[in-house]
Subunit: 237 residues, 4 copies
Amino acid sequence: MAYEKLKEEVYAANMALQASGLVVLTWGNASGVDRAAGVMAIKPSGVSYDVLKPADIVVLSLEDGKTVDGKARPSSDTPTHLHLYHKFTSIGGVIHTHSTCGTSFAQAGREIPCLGTTHADNFYGTIPCTRELTDAEINGEYELNTGKVMVERFVSGKIDPLDVPGILVAGHAPFAWGKTPAKAVENGIVLEFTAKMALHTFALNPAVRPISQTLLDKHFLRKHGKGAYYGQPDTAK
Amino acid sequence: MAYEKLKEEVYAANMALQASGLVVLTWGNASGVDRAAGVMAIKPSGVSYDVLKPADIVVLSLEDGKTVDGKARPSSDTPTHLHLYHKFTSIGGVIHTHSTCGTSFAQAGREIPCLGTTHADNFYGTIPCTRELTDAEINGEYELNTGKVMVERFVSGKIDPLDVPGILVAGHAPFAWGKTPAKAVENGIVLEFTAKMALHTFALNPAVRPISQTLLDKHFLRKHGKGAYYGQPDTAK
Amino acid sequence: MAYEKLKEEVYAANMALQASGLVVLTWGNASGVDRAAGVMAIKPSGVSYDVLKPADIVVLSLEDGKTVDGKARPSSDTPTHLHLYHKFTSIGGVIHTHSTCGTSFAQAGREIPCLGTTHADNFYGTIPCTRELTDAEINGEYELNTGKVMVERFVSGKIDPLDVPGILVAGHAPFAWGKTPAKAVENGIVLEFTAKMALHTFALNPAVRPISQTLLDKHFLRKHGKGAYYGQPDTAK
Amino acid sequence: MAYEKLKEEVYAANMALQASGLVVLTWGNASGVDRAAGVMAIKPSGVSYDVLKPADIVVLSLEDGKTVDGKARPSSDTPTHLHLYHKFTSIGGVIHTHSTCGTSFAQAGREIPCLGTTHADNFYGTIPCTRELTDAEINGEYELNTGKVMVERFVSGKIDPLDVPGILVAGHAPFAWGKTPAKAVENGIVLEFTAKMALHTFALNPAVRPISQTLLDKHFLRKHGKGAYYGQPDTAK
């Protein structure tokens, strides 16, 4: 089987996404990339997780988005994922869910400020929210343009996608990513959990302020980068 | 066994309803229709899901509501279902639950505006709420009149029941439907999930506005109707 | 084994209580009564549900509260249950939990008005909340006095305990009851679910009004009493 | 195997912590102490609960914090636990989680007043929240200083750590403890549950007052100390 390792990895990420409880019905998808081979792999569109198999994963050319392996129609969100891989060259996996609290923030058009160390351990600052798409963007290449407003927010905000591995698309739902499909799933779980606690925190204290930059630095950097001292030596990242 | 396929389908929908977590104790029921045979089938009243079998499903005449197959008393909501099948001739399945968030909106007497694409993917605009029944309607043929206020809201609002496959009955709970009993269950799940996210969204942004008509069109129509491109070719609907 | 049937019934109710998700750790207990034999049976105090067996259930004299069967110390709430059986002579089972939303209403000192038909199907009007106990009542026979403030609320409000099979003890948590221990568990589940939906309903519409007396009558009376037409003929109650 | 009993106990507490639902991903840890042997034992850092074994538990000297048994790097929160054992000499187990509602209170910087008997049964008064750490404390020995602000709050408030077996670290999350690792887990569960009900109680009644000192005394003291009459004679504590 061609691209077997990538398809297994993307299959596993899709199943982990469902096991996480972030996915209702068939909403949600995970993808991965093999930059050396010039391909990305993604869940087929609208297929139930109950019957999904590694062989169902669709492999497409990173260059032109055409299917190179697989019989099914790829997720309708494929052009969004493809654009993220093009512009965020450090990432290796992307997930999209309509997870309850992340989606509620997206619907409310509110960004998620860093209110505590759970957030700081995984996202280096505010989880941003895109602007709304224009009518022309919606009526044009909608899925591609969804990718573009996400990238636009990172470029204008000068944010490194590995520092803040996720975003809310206004009126829609979250996307998250990471160095691997498995890490993208983990970041999607963290985003949802962070959103849930932010929802409760705002209810308890509407005037709450983000934690200090010093505390944010401490927590993010003890888990990421050169000075990391969290986890075991070979897994610290 | 007479009407075997219909009874199996309705049994499966009732069990899926319970598995969905939308049902507490024995509250909730699913029905289906066979228009060619002129019958509808529904869960027996007050029977525990633990012991429910396909053979327990009650089959009634669409014309006069009299039982044509089955020994048990049909759900007390049968006249409501029957009226929906009479007036919404495009539907093939109906469900009723007291799902937590949908019921909370019904109790609050609030409709659920379309606040995001999760909603737009499945409901083409606001999920409406009926008016309250009058005392005469309650003291008269209550279950039939419950069906009538739902239909009244769709007629007065000029809403196609397949565009908006569900409604909240004020002070009561949601009903949902679809082309099949299985699709009715799915729409009931979506209604509850949409209500849950709307509840959180209003908490985060009390002044939130519905998404644009352009985004609503885009999402609903990419999954439904002739231009649909979501899912696999043979399952797209 | 003496009182075998009663002990089995009370054991089953305690296990159902835990399976319902209403109980955290060992908080909560169910009891039952055999009025002909002049005894009540209750869970032993602080025993984990994992190891509870029918033989562990403690049987006490209804007259003087002394143990007539069983080696363990009965639940510390025994005097409360005993008082309810003395004063509410129509009931056969009592449960007590610290279920999340019911307890939140009790802590807030708010009664639960009848906001919808889920409530009306099972509780014939507002679920009341007791007054706070005085210091003298707390320092005296506390558990007995907890029973007394519940009964006081029903007497002063002229409420039939089978019409409203539960109450909130202010600053504490709910008690519920029914004709049997199994029915008491069911009413405890309904109370919690009703409280959860009331919490959400108030968030969506702080000015919400109870449903009409006509709708309350319709729903309660179609499930209870002589005109009942819900459920199967032999199980309708 | 050296320290076998302690490692088993700490392993069991970590697994109980995960089973409790308080832990997301690998966030959270439990430790225990053997004061006679002069050691504490704790979960290794960033290890998944799926693969954790008793042999993975790391044992350290209580005196200097150096590993005396185990190959893995201990939890990065080890200096916090160690400080608690040094200053709270009556405790035998400590847990740390980012449980949803406890963390939301910590992020909001709000203490949890005693709003009901569930709280009073286990925590003898307000669950306190630390002050924020200074930049110097964050940039210095951060984990040790996290322990210090907790102890500072108990010393300044003259609180006995066995009366109030837990605290919220501002902008971070809860810590809880007890005479044994198992009891620390139980107190962590109670803290989360208490926080969840307080969140709902404040939503229902923003002006709610704590329960009376008399009721607090009654509930805490009937489960703890010499006059306790809850549970079975040999397990009452």
